[in-house]
């Protein structure tokens, strides 16, 4: 067990600057209007740094820098860009603990997660796209004996990216790595709930990239996000967040006729077929853990397995042991490596979760575990902690239909295969799902029949860089991870070449 020191105290891995400016053209730039906002740590509910409150004027400065940098960056070789990405990965690895403490302080997540997941995945993501861009070939077709069609990948130019607060560094990296690999210059706006950890990363990697290739402007959605998303000076916008803002982003993109990729969340079903409980063995243990993963990152995951579907014969027994397992989850100081459940990322998130627990009770769902805010006492008393919560109910209830983005699980039963698939698909969203069965045929068929972009079979919450991630239905448009993501940051140039000496003969 290790308890990391609070940032800025003796022995701390990181000391935050009192104030973070915007990162534009390879340097720290004060916001044009001179305004700042306080970043609050969800660990204790207290402000810990000031952050630039960027506006349209700052977005323009960042776009100026990006437009200056884009032509030369877009002409670098894939080898050169891959080397840059690999250097960034090395720096992340070398500063893992520092970044992990910063991430936990900004977001509230238990530090074992950034140490073992967020940051190793982030560095691996850069390495994956370094490899992907080097191994990406163009295409050609010999259309007839004298005519050859060549297809080249070209960068889009300057792109905008707006990222969420649940994995502030990793979600930034999911968008940065493919965009940089493909040769684009970027203006990024982090979430206003978690604006600092990405700036700590920039302090470490900023000088690896040529000035202007990556620009980061902090601020509020209305004041900085909207001017970026609606700017005619970007050639693509990428967004992760909720549906109303997603639709606005798509609306702004349509006005500028640019592509947009949006990842808008989900309400993922985690399906457990009866044969899971055939033996009380290691696989059963794994399935039980797969159930409890709803509490991973306090449920603040777009693909949180927040609907558990248990087949009737095992409903009571499987749920009973899973509730006991969840009850044992250690909630405490997020900087303690033994802590399994940390703080929700913001006060309004906490309030929203409590409002959903309230409607769950009103709708008649049975509260099987948790359901309360937690006061951890001492310095942590002002933090935003919620007990892991389990409800039993039916799929028509709002707690089964809406992404609560908290450690709240809705459990129901199903009779047979058709019933399971029907319940799983009775939802607006289609981002993730889980299927657990010892029968490979059942697991395969269920995986194919569920309308979701990612179905975990006999595992959950793995995010390897090579596996495509994205939504069906209202969960959005586009794919992240995997080399497919490169396509969202590239133009296709077709050169249609004639090697014939003969005129066409039309005129």
């Amino acid at each position: 067990m290790t308890v990391y020191a609070n940032p800025g105290t003796p022995g701390a891995k990181v000391t935050f600057k009192p104030r973070y400016e915007n990162w534009i053209n390879g340097g720290w730039v004060k916001p044009v209007k001179g305004q700042y906002f306080e970043d609050i740590s969800p660990v204790n509910g207290k402000p810990f740094a000031e952050v630039a409150r960027g506006t349209a004027e700052d977005i323009e400065l960042a776009l100026d820098a990006a437009h200056r940098a884009a032509p030369a960056w877009g002409k670098t070789t894939a080898t050169e860009r891959a080397a840059v990405l690999n250097k960034i990965a090395d720096v992340i690895d070398a500063n893992k603990e520092l970044l992990a403490v910063a991430e936990t302080w900004d977001n509230g997540k238990p530090i074992r997660e950034p140490l073992n997941a967020d940051l190793p995945l982030a560095s691996d993501h850069f390495r994956y796209f370094a490899a992907a861009i080097r191994s990406q070939d163009g295409d050609h077709a010999e259309l007839d004996n004298d005519t050859v069609s060549y297809q080249f990948h070209e960068p889009l130019g300057v792109v905008g990216q707006i990222i969420p607060w649940n994995f502030p560094i990793l979600m930034a990296v999911w968008k940065l790595a493919p965009a940089l690999a493909a040769g684009n210059a970027i203006v990024m706006k982090p979430a206003e709930q978690t604006p600092v950890s990405i700036m700590v990363l920039i302090e470490l990697i900023g000088d690896i990239l040529p000035p202007g290739v990556l620009n980061i402007v902090n601020g509020f959605g209305l004041e900085a996000g909207k001017p970026l998303a609606s700017s005619p000076r970007i050639r693509k916008i990428a967004f992760t967040g909720e549906t109303t803002t997603g639709r606005l982003i798509l609306q702004y993109a349509s006005a500028n006729i640019i592509p947009a990729t949006v990842e808008l969340g989900g309400k993922s079903a985690n399906i457990f077929f009866s044969d899971v409980a055939q033996e009380q063995d290691s696989f059963y243990d794994k399935a039980q853990e797969g159930f409890v993963l709803f509490a991973f990152n306090q449920g603040e995951v777009c693909t949180a397995p927040s609907r558990a579907l248990l087949q009737k014969p095992i409903y009571e027994s499987f749920l009973g042991s899973a509730i006991e397992r969840t009850r044992k989850a250690i909630q405490g100081n997020p900087l303690d490596t033994d802590t399994q459940v940390g703080a929700q990322a913001s006060n309004d998130q906490l309030e929203k979760i409590l409002s959903y627990i309230d409607i769950g009770k009103q709708e008649g769902a049975r509260l099987a575990l948790g359901g309360e805010r937690v006061d951890l006492g001492g310095d942590l008393s002002g933090g935003y902690y919620v007990q892991p919560t389990i409800f039993e109910g039916n799929n028509k209830m709002r707690i089964f239909q809406e992404e609560i983005f908290g450690p709240v699980l809705a459990v129901t039963s199903f009779s047979d295969y058709e019933d399971a698939i029907s319940i799983a698909n009775d939802n607006l969203y289609g981002l993730g799902a889980g299927v657990w069965s010892r029968n490979g045929n059942v697991a395969y068929r269920a995986g194919r029949d569920i309308h979701a972009g990612r179905v975990w079979v006999n595992n959950y919450h793995h995010y390897p860089a090579g596996a495509a991630f994205g939504g069906y239905k209202s969960s959005g448009i586009g794919r992240e991870n995997n080399k497919l993501a490169l396509g969202h940051y590239q133009q296709t140039k077709n050169l249609l070449v004639s090697y014939s000496e003969k005129p066409l003969g039309f005129f």
Binding site: F37, I40, R53, P164, W165, N166, A191, E192, Q193, F220, G221, L222, E223, G225, K226, T240, G241, E242, T243, T244, T245, G246, R247, L248, Q251, E263, L264, G265, G266, C302, S346, N347, D348, Q349, E351, K352, S355, Y356, D358, I359, Q362, E363, K396, R398, Q401, E402, E403, I404, F405, L428, Y429, S474, S475
Partner: protein, 141 residues
């Protein structure tokens, strides 16, 4: 969240869903106070109820017309936030039709809590967030 001015009261929506007779939405006094400030700064306002990830399930407040609604959205109600006796200031509250299918049995109260940002909603830079509290329609008079 500052306490509501004594003169502010809860505002209940007019009925706008065809065939219905019961309101579906209300604004708390704290929400009304902030909406009046936003109206003074940005002009006429609208709400669209969000779903999905991160700040999903939050009501998003925009300048009227900023968010383009379509036949696939439902107007849940129209709320006049103007003080009694003054020119009407009506705010439309919208939700996507597919989301309404799952929400239609609940009455929505738009409240205000301290908070930090959410999408492009107008109130976020003030350090407050609109928040939905729900109750079952059956229990509503």
């Amino acid at each position: 969240m500052s306490p509501a001015a004594p003169s502010t009261t809860t505002v209940i929506a007019s009925v706008t869903v065809p065939g219905e007779t019961t309101p579906r939405v209300e604004f708390t006094p704290a929400a009304v106070d902030t909406l009046r400030e936003l109206w003074a700064e940005f002009g006429p306002l609208m709400f669209h109820q969000s779903g999905g990830c991160c700040d999903g399930s939050s009501p998003m407040c925009f300048p009227a017309g900023e968010f383009i609604t379509s036949d696939r959205d439902v107007l849940l109600g129209r709320l006049d936030i103007a003080p009694a006796g003054e020119t009407a200031q009506t705010v439309d509250f919208w939700m996507s039709a597919e989301q309404f299918e799952y929400w239609s049995h609940t009455f929505l109260t738009v409240d205000l809590v301290p908070g930090r940002g959410s999408g492009f909603s107008l109130e976020a830079p003030r350090g407050v967030r609109f928040l939905i509290r729900s109750r079952l329609m059956e229990s509503f008079g």
